[in-house]
Amino acid sequence: MTRQSAARKPETTEAVIRLSDVNKWYGEFQALKDINLTIKRGERVVVCGPSGSGKSTMIRCINRLEEHQRGTIVVDGIELTDNLKNIEAIRSEVGMVFQSFNLFPHLRVIDNLTLAPMWVRKMPKKEAETLAMEYLERVRIPEQAYKFPGQLSGGQQQRVAIARALCMQPKIMLFDEPTSALDPEMIKEVLDVMIELAESGMTMIVVTHEMGFAKTVADTMVFMDAGEIVEVAPPSIFFEAPKSDRTKLFLSQILTH
């Protein structure tokens, strides 16, 4: 029901996300300034930039965890407005992975995964569980299905969080610094899962400082600073010949330490 009910515009077979002149304020403080960004189906976008530059704010606007005040955001043909039906339709098409995992601590891993398919997609429990096990296989922790999140390591929890988002079979996945809260030895297991997901053709927007990951996976690099998009370029150009001085400075800081 959520899939069909919302109005859909025909011209979006190409651009699956379009942000036009998006502005956002927190009180007096402007967190996003005239953001323009178009993302095509299957495109992998890595967003980077200094702390406080508005990266989280931007991707959280895409599934309306934050509200923008000016400009338009169109996701999969649906414009984000106050319309609750539209918002829910978009949220069920857009998966999100948080820095702090945000698994539901009172539910076992498998119940974390089946919750939304059962309550949002109205899927029978059996079917939802089969689906959940499929995705747990994909993130390589099927043996943890009947544990509680608190019993897992950080890397395992983040992979459960990815599987939870995938269980809604979203068209787009948003990642907000998915490895920043992890110990170094666990970062790789999460990045590997994300690389696999990228190879399967998922449209992904990833906020991260893992430049190795960005180089292997990204189609497009986006650099933000002070609420603005400063530079948008394919990784080959972005890393070798960035145009803006701010990008150069940022890259020199992040790549040297």
Partner: protein, 407 residues
């Protein structure tokens, strides 16, 4: 998780294990934590028993020396006073024991209503306080701040005075047909007794059980097929429908005793006394404010990331509350709410101030007439202890139901 309560049997087994261990490892048992734990507990228990016996013995001797009667024989004696309202028949020719029972029932009666109403009020106000609607949340905070910062004694006296300030029966407020609000209490119609009513009560119980079964069935069906079966209206239908059928089968008796003004007061119907209403409203409004704070704190104890994650997968706000926030909030809410139930029950003893014949009121009269203060007080204390323990046991049981496993 609940902290495991160390039962005596458990401590003893632990001690035996420690003995065993100390024999094996050759370290002194006196150093074993478990052994010391048992020793301390035994010492403490003996001390308490000794002290209690000494106090009792001492009081007994002194009273005997002064020629004051001791013991509980007075319970069977004629009470000689009447009680304003009672759930069971009572007159002054009956015993002190029966009078005390009337008091106990009145205490339970007002406390039971108080607990239910304070919970409804508190949960509503607690959720309202975290509402994003400015007016609603400000109104709820206004209620909480106004009510919890005034002593409960004043609440009770205030509401009793409000009721006494209502118009007399001749000018009674008449909000609905047959219902009158006066300074003599709230008077409302009552169906004339009929043999069919107990059966309707039974049908109601059966209906409730049926509705619970139906809800379970609906839950299972939802798991199997994903289809949401609405449970509210069918459930209500089952609960109300069965008594209705019984009523129709019994010839649909329609006789009501409707209150009507005769002279200076109403005849017919039944009434809630001003004392009962004043006490009930007072303790409900007071405790409701505390429960509202507990509910608010419980909801806010759930990290915001949980709400965001739940919204991000597309759950509606109502489902976010029901599936994600409340299950996590309840374990924070239940234990302090238990204390509120206990203090509400104990606060119902303030009925003595406005003339509600609760246990303390009746017990006090008994005490004054018999002069047996220790006995009368200890009966009251024992009864409150028993009521409180029952509430605690029930709430601990409920807490174990909602306490969630996390690891």
């Amino acid at each position: 998780m609940q902290p495991e309560r160390r039962t005596y049997a458990f401590a003893v087994t632990e001690c035996m294990a420690a003995l065993e261990a100390s024999r094996k490892s050759d370290t002194s048992i006196l150093n074993s934590l478990a052994f010391r734990g048992v020793v301390y507990q035994v010492l403490l228990a003996s001390g308490v028993i000794l002290l209690g016996w000494y106090l009792y013995h001492n009081a007994h001797l002194n009273l005997e020396r002064q020629g004051i009667a001791t013991g509980f024989d007075f319970i069977g004696e004629r009470a000689g006073f009447s009680i304003g309202e009672s759930l069971i028949p009572f007159d002054s020719a009956q015993s002190y024991g029966r009078a005390l029972l009337v008091g106990i029932l009145n205490t339970l009666y007002v406390a039971a209503f108080g607990v239910v109403l304070a919970t409804i009020l508190g949960v509503t106000m607690g959720i309202a306080r975290v509402s994003s609607n400015w007016l609603i949340s400000k109104l709820a905070s206004g209620y909480v701040e106004a009510c919890r910062n005034v002593p409960v004694v004043l609440h009770v006296i205030f509401w009793a005075s409000v009721i006494r300030a209502l118009p007399p029966p001749r000018e009674a407020l008449n909000p609905f047909d047959g219902v009158f609000i006066t300074n003599r209490g709230v008077i409302y119609p009552l169906p004339v007794e009929n043999a069919i009513y107990p059966w309707m009560g039974l049908a109601l119980l059966v209906g409730i059980a049926g509705a619970v079964l139906f809800a379970r069935w609906a839950g299972r069906r939802r798991e199997l097929t994903g289809r949401n079966v609405s449970t509210f209206w069918p459930g209500l239908g089952i609960i109300l429908g069965l008594p209705l059928l019984v009523w129709l089968a019994g010839g649909a008796p329609l006789e009501w005793s409707v209150p009507a003004l005769r002279g200076f007061n109403f005849q017919g119907g039944t009434s809630l006394t001003p004392e009962f209403v004043g006490l009930l409203v007072g303790i409900t409004v007071y405790t409701g404010a505390f429960i509202a704070e507990i509910v608010r704190a419980g909801i806010q104890s759930v990290p915001h990331g949980q709400v965001e994650a739940a919204r991000a997968v597309g759950l509606r706000p109502g489902l976010v509350m029901r599936l994600v926030i409340l299950p996590q909030a309840l374990r924070v809410i239940v234990p302090p709410t238990t204390s509120q139930y206990l203090s509400l029950t104990k606060n119902s003893s303030l009925g003595v101030l406005i003339g509600y014949p609760d246990l303390v009121n009746v017990g006090n009269t008994t005490l004054n007439q018999t002069g047996q203060a220790l006995e009368a007080i200890s009966i009251m204390m024992a009864v409150y202890l028993m009521i409180s323990l029952s509430i605690s046991i029930f709430m601990n049981f409920y807490n174990r139901l909602v306490a969630i496993r996390e690891r």
